[in-house]
């Protein structure tokens, strides 16, 4: 069965390239093209595609806001968000706004195919090099009754909190994040002070509560 795809990107050349690429995949057909968020919303309502491949930054109604409205208006349409941004702020925001998959434009073209296949089945997907943990994090941030204190951590603090809760040593965390041991220690101290928690067990409980790790890891 062929899945209907709506394509939204403000740049005609990029749209053309994407269309050629998607049409070359088995089982997908581009049924409409939109050049901004508003048009994408209107076409989704009209064509009820199975999938929408949308650029995150578009003029007028941007991709994020358009997507919020599309997933509400056409719940059967899964959105694959395309973006040049790999920063987690974008990814989490997009996932929380209802994206099924997030593909970085620089990723290998196979990533888009994988994203379409998975999103076609309603499965979530992030293209490399995005860590899958962002997926869980965004999902849990939505579901769990979030401890507001947890959401007031910086991205760096959240990252370090997660790694501590997963049982990594300071040195391992420093290596993994390419920062110095002292920096990890400083962040950890600030984090503990902010949360008013002064031991690892407490930090772990907190990380679970605000959805950074799942209780069974």
């Amino acid at each position: 069965m062929t899945r209907k795809v709506l394509l939204a990107d403000d740049h005609a050349l990029v749209r053309r390239g994407l269309r050629a690429l998607i049409d070359s995949y088995d089982g997908f057909e581009v049924v409409g093209e939109a050049s901004d968020g508003r048009e994408a919303l209107a076409l989704c309502r009209q064509l009820e595609p199975d999938l929408a491949v949308m650029d995150l930054s578009m003029p007028g109604l941007n991709g994020l806001d358009a997507m919020r409205r599309i997933v509400k208006a056409v719940p059967t349409c899964n959105v694959v968000m395309l973006s040049m941004h790999a920063a987690e702020h974008y990814v989490i925001e997009a996932l929380r706004a209802g994206a099924c998959a997030y593909v970085i434009k620089d990723a290998a073209p196979e990533a888009l195919e994988v994203a379409l296949v998975r999103a076609g089945k309603g499965l979530r997907y992030l293209s490399p090099p995005l860590p899958a943990s962002l997926l869980e994090q965004a999902a849990r941030m939505d579901n769990a009754s979030i401890d507001p204190a947890g959401s007031y951590l910086t991205s760096r603090q959240r990252e370090i909190l997660q790694l501590i809760a997963e049982g990594h040593s300071t040195r391992e965390i420093a290596d993994r994040l390419h920062i110095s041991i002292k920096t990890v220690e400083t962040h950890r101290a600030q984090l503990m002070q902010r949360l008013g928690i002064h031991d690892v067990a407490g930090l772990t409980r907190h990380a679970i509560r605000c959805g950074l790790i799942s209780p069974d890891t």
Binding site: D10, H11, L13, V14, R16, G17, L18, A20, L21, S24, L56, S57, N62, M84, H85, A87, H89, Y90, E93, K105, D106, P109, S151, Y152, L153, T154, S155, R156, L177, H178, I179, S180, K182, T183, T186, H187, Q190, R194
Partner: protein, 369 residues
């Protein structure tokens, strides 16, 4: 040889000396008058308690009056002061007379004969005191500094304009790079991938792909340096959070940032002002301060309070010699940006004690009048 002293010659000698002294005094007065005339300095000579104030010709000329018919009084002076400057000038003069401040040098506006206000710099000094130490005579000068004040104002307008133009240009170039060049390259990349899918991945296509990827990477890095899209897309909090992480990795120091998560969105001018400010302050802390810990704190208190502090070597902000040496642009641009957005800027630093920059910006940007 013995000199015979002539008894009669003494009074004569005294008269000669007196005449010489008088001549010298006249010469010196003439010189002073000429100097004041040449430099356009007005003179005032005030005795506390008296209404009349002594003045020279230049003073009358500065104010547009005929020197012959001009007579200065205390009341006329006060009345001539610009209403916005009056209280401050009088307070300053009183403080000087009371010994609260060491010198009297003020700049203010006075109304001239035509009704136009001009800027003057007045410098005065107590020259006589009564036995109790109370000042009985103060003498000073006026200099018309209207041209300088206007030039300074023009300069500050120009530097504000410069910042705006620079920001606008940056954002234009960033948009052009991102929206046009970046997208064209992306399109080329997609086409190359499509070619590869149809005809197999030849070495040439592979080569082209790697060139395109490299070029795209460069374009994106340029865009980030010019104006991070995240600032416009996700707001100041996310952009600063992201920036500090990147700097932390690049420089290998700790950059602690507080108050970015859940930070409200502000007007575009406030957001770019704060972003540039933090950027410059962090760069200074790394480059000059050689700090290994930098703290950036944001706090919304009916406006945005931003503090950037480092534990680096610090410096003496009042050191004029140093200032003249380092023709730095960063700090003055910070001040200028903050003033432009109607905010307050404060810098405190001392050798060995790190540096702290504190800024407060109103929610809605706008220059204070």
């Amino acid at each position: 040889m013995v000199i015979q002293r002539n008894k009669d010659s003494e009074p004569a000698a005294r008269a000669d000396a007196l005449a010489a002294a008088e001549q010298a005094l006249r010469d010196s007065e003439t010189r002073l008058r000429l100097a004041m005339h040449a430099t356009g300095l007005g003179l005032w000579d005030y005795r506390p308690g008296q209404e009349r104030v002594g003045s020279n010709e230049e003073f009358a000329v500065l104010l547009g009056y005929e020197p012959d018919s001009f007579e200065e009084t205390r009341a006329a002076f006060v009345e001539r002061l610009h209403p916005d400057d009056r209280a401050a000038v009088r307070a300053r003069f009183r403080d000087y007379l009371d010994g609260q401040c060491a010198d009297y040098a003020v700049e203010f506006r006075m109304r001239t004969r035509s009704g136009e206000y001009r800027w003057f710099r007045s410098v005065g000094q107590i020259v006589d005191r009564d036995p109790a130490g109370k000042p009985t005579r103060v003498v000073g000068t006026y200099l018309d500094i209207t041209a300088q004040v206007n030039a300074m104002r023009r300069l500050s307008e120009l530097s504000a304009r410069l910042l705006q133009v620079q920001e606008a240009e940056r954002s234009k170039v960033a948009r052009e790079l991102h929206d046009e060049i970046g997208q064209q390259l992306t399109a080329i990349r997609l086409n190359l991938h499509a070619i590869a899918r149809e005809g197999g991945l030849s070495a040439r296509v592979e080569d082209c792909l790697s060139i395109v990827d490299d070029t795209l990477g460069r374009v994106r890095a340029q865009v980030l340096d010019l104006r991070p899209p995240m600032l416009d897309d996700m707001g100041l909090g996310a952009a600063l959070d992201w920036y500090c992480r990147r700097q932390e990795e690049r420089a290998g120091v700790s950059i602690l940032i507080e108050g970015v998560e859940g930070l409200a969105r502000y007007g575009e001018e406030v957001e770019i002002t704060v972003f540039r400010l933090v950027q410059e302050a962090v760069n200074n802390a790394l480059r000059h301060g050689r700090a290994d810990e930098i703290r950036v704190t944001l706090h919304d208190v009916d406006g945005l309070r931003v503090v950037v502090e480092d534990n680096g070597v610090g410096f003496d902000p009042d050191d004029q010699v140093q200032r003249a040496h380092h023709e730095g642009y960063g700090l003055s641009a910070m001040r200028e940006r903050v003033a432009l957005a109607g905010g307050r800027f404060d810098l405190s630093s001392a050798p060995g004690a790190g540096t702290r920059i504190t800024v407060f910006l109103p929610r809605q940007a706008g220059r204070r009048s």
